[in-house]
């Protein structure tokens, strides 16, 4: 068997690929912060909320974590279409990603909150801080710092998961690849290139997020201690 590799499509479809990369990054960037906020609210609700909030949080987290993202995306996208709600593929994709990553973030943040020594909460409440001042001012910063590496991994995974969004015709990188291979019949080469791009994106995103840590955690910056 002999196969002639042909990467000529790169010249012609370079701009297309770039547009795909751009959309992939856009989806990721738009989802990180809302996903983190949703997850954190959920973790706090589950740990310290009234019983009904806890129940809602548990159902949400378990439902999302035990079903595939693709099904969640289809449910949302085709469901919205049936309800005559037209929000477009990109917003639908971002919405699905936020809901999905929020559930995983909730579990990570919960672990973070639970890992903080009880003495911290005790000391803070003995300084007459209110319950919510203790949660947001004392516990949250420490929890985020403790689980930051896990959060970074989760958001890298989320970036990779955007590759499914071409299924709802959001033409991100994988979707662009599909079109290119349909024109060029060079599926193998196209997806090898795409795979390489994702590896680079994953590494870059990891670097950027870890870079954010030095801004977010002045203590780390000063002491030079790794996360």
């Amino acid at each position: 068997m002999s196969y002639e590799f042909d990467f000529a499509f790169l010249d012609e479809y370079g701009p297309e690929l770039l547009r795909g990369v751009w959309l992939t990054l856009g989806m990721t960037a738009a989802s990180v912060l809302p996903g983190f906020l949703l997850g954190t609210l959920c973790a706090v609700g589950r740990l310290y909320g009234p019983p009904w909030v806890r129940r809602v949080a548990i159902v949400y987290v378990e439902a999302i974590r035990n079903t595939p993202l693709v099904i969640q995306v289809f449910w949302l996208f085709f469901g919205l279409a049936v309800l005559q709600v037209r929000i477009g593929a990109f917003p639908a994709a971002v919405l699905a990603l936020v809901i999905n990553v929020g559930a995983y973030t909730a579990e990570i943040m919960r672990a973070g909150f639970e890992s903080i020594p009880k003495g911290q909460v005790e000391a803070a409440s003995c300084l007459a801080l209110t319950r919510s001042q203790v949660i947001w001012g004392v516990q949250l910063p420490q929890a985020v710092e403790r689980v930051y590496p896990a959060l970074v991994s989760q958001f890298v995974l989320m970036m990779l998961a955007t590759s499914i969004m071409s299924q709802i015709s959001a033409e991100e990188l994988t979707g662009v690849a599909y079109q290119i291979q349909a024109f060029t019949f060079r599926g193998f080469e196209v997806y090898l290139v795409i795979a390489g791009i994702y590896v680079a994106l994953a590494a870059a995103l990891r670097l950027v997020l870890l870079g954010c840590a030095t801004v977010a955690f002045p203590r780390r910056r000063r002491l030079g201690t790794p996360l």
Binding site: M1, Y3, E62, A63, R65, N66, T67, P68, L69, V70, I71, Q72, F74, W75, F78, G79, A81, V82, L160, A161, T162, S163, I164, Q167, T174, A177, Y178, Q181, G187, F188, V190, Y191, L192, I194, A195, Y198, V199, A202, A203
Partner: protein
């Protein structure tokens, strides 16, 4: 006039979805077995602490493979395998391509999980076994492996959940699984909430018990 039964779907349509669910289980099993075949050697190669140049190469080769796979989305791996096997002139069924892709993917993650488990066995255990004049292989089989296996149960069961969920990505190469069958029925009935809720419930019914089990095992281990 189709006999409408449950949530506005006919028995045939429900059955169709359940047939897809069957193939999801088949692909999951393939993915786990294949992943074990790939992941075990990876874990061993990466967990090795000392050795010559050969083992250095092995360790870093395995490490590079894991890093590479973990940087590529599973749908893209599906496509690479799908187009990769077909350039050889082979016409492979989607199951084979999806199974191979799941194998490559889950192998990397399982390898990483199990490496952690092997390395979680205290160093002193190796030393103690060495002092008993056991050969390197005996040390591993009789002392390290049994302990590592115990540690490996909760994360492995937890990863099974990931495998089952991620088989859904095979929809991109048109493998007939639960997600694909649900999509087909949705296209036919235009009842996305009903159809995808049913699909989600089936996935949930498979995954949730394993999630609970994984947590229980972990809690039990922490107590011990």
């Amino acid at each position: 006039m189709p006999d409408v039964t449950w949530l506005g779907l006919t028995w045939d349509q429900l059955l169709f979805i359940f047939r897809g669910a069957g193939w999801t289980l088949v692909l999951s099993l393939l993915g786990f077995l294949g992943g074990t075949l790939v992941g075990l050697p990876l874990a061993l190669a990466r967990a090795k602490r000392k050795g010559g140049a050969g083992s250095w190469l092995l360790r870093h080769g395995a490490g590079a493979y894991v890093a590479l796979v973990q940087g590529v989305p599973l749908p893209v791996i599906m496509f690479v395998v799908y187009f990769g096997v077909s350039i050889g002139g082979f016409e492979v069924p989607a199951l084979a391509a999806a199974g191979l892709a799941m194998t490559l993917w889950s192998g990397a993650y399982l390898g990483e999980i199990w490496r952690g488990c092997i390395q979680a066995v205290p160093r002193t255990q190796w030393e103690a076994a060495e002092c008993l004049a056991l050969s390197p292989l005996q040390r591993f089989v009789h002392v390290i492996l049994p302990q590592a296996l115990r540690i490996a149960v909760p994360p492995t069961v937890g990863f099974l959940v990931q495998i089952v969920k991620n088989t859904s990505y095979s929809v991109v190469i048109g493998f007939f699984d639960l997600t694909y069958s649900a999509k087909v029925i949705n296209n036919a009935t235009y009842k996305p909430f009903q159809v995808f809720t049913i699909a989600a419930l089936i996935y949930f019914a498979i995954c949730y018990p394993m999630s609970v089990m994984s947590r229980r095992f972990e809690a039990r281990m922490r107590r011990a």
